[in-house]
């Protein structure tokens, strides 16, 4: 194992998240009840995704500046784990939503039409699809250098698309999801009590570190693989 201190830190932060996340006193909100604890899991997936996409973006720029092939591999793998986190965020959100957003007077299926119009869901879907296109684009180019260059440029575009699709447009529109015009979801002082912040911030760090760990493993595997092919 390599450079293990931050891996251990990540694991410890997650253990803390799992224990404190379930035991800590949380605000009693009639609509959310105990599901408010999903803040430590669902929301952290999105934070992890954003941080992983930022790392991927930095590696894409690094590739264009230095033509270092390892940066290209890193960019691709961080984007991959970022997409995984985004999908997990989407899935967990779907579970959470089906207990807190549904209209009690309608069936789950019938209240889906309001849920499907949620700007935050659509924005996140657009962002994830833009990144999915990144994977497709990469795999469709045979030439290694061309593939690296074009996908690095596309990666920068995909990152730029994150701004309108998840940070700007959903906040301008009315939504059931927290964090519209009143500020950043989960970060503003109305959404989470001080008590919850004690778990929430370490949880973000823990989940992100695990994501980075997975990405580094995949990068190292890819590098070994490519070296084998060169021989």
């Amino acid at each position: 194992m390599r450079k293990s201190w931050w891996k251990i830190l990540g694991v410890l932060l997650l253990v803390y998240t799992f224990i404190a996340g379930l035991l800590i006193e949380v605000p009693r909100n009639i609509q959310l009840q105990e599901t408010i604890r999903n803040l430590f899991f669902h929301v952290c997936m999105w934070f992890g995704m954003m941080i992983l996409f930022i790392i991927s973006f930095i590696h894409a720029i690094k590739y264009l500046r230095t033509n270092d092939h390892n940066s290209d591999i890193a960019s691709r793998q961080y984007a991959g784990v970022g997409i995984l986190f985004g999908l997990l965020g989407y899935l967990t959100g779907a579970i959470w939503m089906s207990y807190t957003w549904v209209d009690e007077n309608k069936t789950l299926f019938n209240s889906f039409d309001t849920v499907a119009r949620e700007p935050k869901l659509i924005g996140a879907a657009i962002a994830l699809l833009v990144y999915a296109a990144y994977l497709v684009l990469r795999d469709s180019i045979q030439d290694i250098d061309k593939r690296a260059r074009i996908s690095a440029v596309y990666n920068i575009f995909a990152f730029a698309m994150l701004f309108p699709s998840i940070w700007i447009i959903p906040r301008l529109l009315p939504s059931l999801h927290p964090g519209g015009s009143e500020g950043n979801p989960a970060l503003n002082f109305k959404d989470a009590s001080m008590n919850m912040r004690l778990v929430f911030y370490p949880a973000i760090a823990g989940w992100t570190l695990i994501g980075v760990w997975i990405a580094t493993l995949k990068i190292r595997m890819k590098i070994i693989n490519e070296q084998r092919l060169m021989k």
Binding site: R2, V11, F18, L22, N29, L217, Q227
Partner: protein
């Protein structure tokens, strides 16, 4: 006056209901059964982390072989 009084009473009633009405897992915590959930979650986490550690070791071995 009567209208105002009834509004106030209704308001207080709503407040009281809100204070009691929010159902939380208080009973679960009293029974101590929430710890079962934590145990299950930690087991899954431990399994996943162990998997990552083993993968990391294997990759390190491959890197050293060259």
């Amino acid at each position: 006056m009567k209208k105002l009084l009834s509004t106030v009473i209704l308001f207080l009633l709503c407040l009281a209901m809100n204070a009691q009405g929010t159902k939380m897992a208080d009973l679960m915590k009293e029974n101590g059964k929430i710890y079962v959930v934590i145990a299950v979650m930690l087991t899954i986490l431990a399994g996943l982390i162990l998997y990552l550690v083993r993968l990391d070791r294997k990759i390190s071995k491959l890197e050293n072989n060259k």
